[in-house]
């Protein structure tokens, strides 16, 4: 008899718990709206005061979240609780997303620093090995390619490569690309990877379009298309500049297979 009562009690309690948990989803009233807006506000102020990740914040998500909070307040004033709740909860999710992306970017920066140290260490170890004479490497030096292990790479800022507001190559860009073509022609087994980057917004499609435009140029200049891969990285990868790590509109050319 006692067991039966216990089971009934447990079942009633569990039902109540389920009801409460689903009730959270249904809580579209004024109080819950105010609570969730307050939560979102706190999350934003937390991010604002977190100086470790603030500089890595993706501002597209962040600004959308701020706008959503404003919209939810507006709807709350108009007593549209459903809409207010919707805007506030999406704002909360966007803030969380922005925070996680910022953390990922911070780790990416740390990785770049570690990588730099690693290659410095390796370079010191490799100094004992015979180095190729400048005459052998003439094309590579002319193309300003930097060696990193077995990889040669160069990063070119968009304004030095493309014409203003267009994706056609400028005179300066043509000259530097011709140098790259010479390298690719000399080392016929080498492969080229073109990575497009953007600056303020994580605009992947545009970065991909830039790199594909360059691929077209190389293919038109008798470089086999199978040797070239073109991708767009958006603004997720930072560039190591003289004034620190920055997000810049640029193209990265990575050549492998040069022996």
């Amino acid at each position: 008899m006692n067991k039966l009562i216990k089971y009934r009690l447990i079942s009633i309690l569990s039902l109540m718990l389920i009801f409460i948990s689903t009730g959270n989803l249904l809580a579209w009233d004024e109080d819950s709206c105010k609570k969730i807006i307050e939560k979102a506000d706190n999350a934003i102020s937390d991010i604002d005061n977190n100086f470790e990740i603030k500089e890595f914040l993706p501002y597209d998500y962040y600004s959308e979240a701020v706008i959503n909070i404003r919209m939810s307040r507006w709807e709350l004033d108009n007593e549209e609780y459903e809409l207010a709740f919707f805007y506030a909860s999406t704002a909360l999710i966007k803030i969380e997303t922005a925070r996680i992306y910022a953390e990922a970017r911070k780790l990416e920066r740390d990785r770049l620093i570690y990588e730099k140290n690693y290659y410095r260490k390796k370079k010191k170890e490799e100094t004992a090995e015979p180095v190729k004479t400048p005459t052998d490497m003439n094309e590579i030096i002319e193309a300003n390619l930097l060696k990193k292990g077995n990889i040669y790479r160069i990063e070119i800022i968009d304004r030095n490569l493309f014409e203003k507001r267009r994706l056609s190559l400028s005179k300066r860009g043509l000259k530097s690309m011709e140098k790259i073509i010479r390298v690719l022609e000399k080392y016929s087994n080498s492969k080229l990877r073109i990575v497009g980057h953007t600056s303020f917004t994580d605009y992947r499609k545009f970065s991909e379009r830039k790199s594909k435009r360059l691929k077209k140029f190389f293919v038109a200049n008798n470089i086999n298309g199978d040797r070239i891969t073109a991708i767009g990285a958006g603004n997720r990868i930072v560039m190591d500049t003289a004034v620190g790590f920055r997000r810049i509109d640029r193209i990265e050319l990575i050549i492998t297979g040069i022996e």
Binding site: I93, T97, Y101, A104, R105, L107, R111, Y114
Partner: protein, 116 residues
């Protein structure tokens, strides 16, 4: 004259009723389409590595899908639309977590290399 006005009022009444019915049907279709899209996306995520680091989000999205279906049954289409839209925004969170996971593993790799 009276018959004409009566016909006119009747016409307006029927048009307004049918337009309401049609708009409700549109909303249902839209919400259902969105739920199928979310279910497909969720299925893909479940089959990927995301299960290891975004289990919480997956459970939340599943909860929202159930909630949407329940709201459609109760004919609360507007609310169902909001719920499924909230579920959609969770996918960005999942992709953010995957990029965080990627950068963590990359960082660990380079740290190991440096320690060698």
């Amino acid at each position: 004259m009276k018959i004409k006005t009566a016909i006119f009022i009747l016409l307006i009444f029927t048009v307004s009723l049918s337009s309401r019915y049609l708009s409700a049907q549109d909303q249902v279709r839209e919400v259902r389409n969105l739920t199928t899209i979310v279910e497909k996306k969720l299925g893909k995520i479940k089959n990927s590595d995301a299960v290891n680091y975004a289990q919480e989000e997956i459970n939340i999205i599943e909860g929202y899908i159930k909630e949407t279906k329940r709201l459609i049954k109760e004919e609360k289409y507007q609310r169902a639309y909001y719920v499924i839209s909230i579920a959609i925004s969770y996918f960005n969170l999942v992709s953010a977590k995957s990029s965080l996971n990627e950068s963590k593993t990359e960082l660990n790799k380079i740290k190991e290399k440096l320690n060698e």
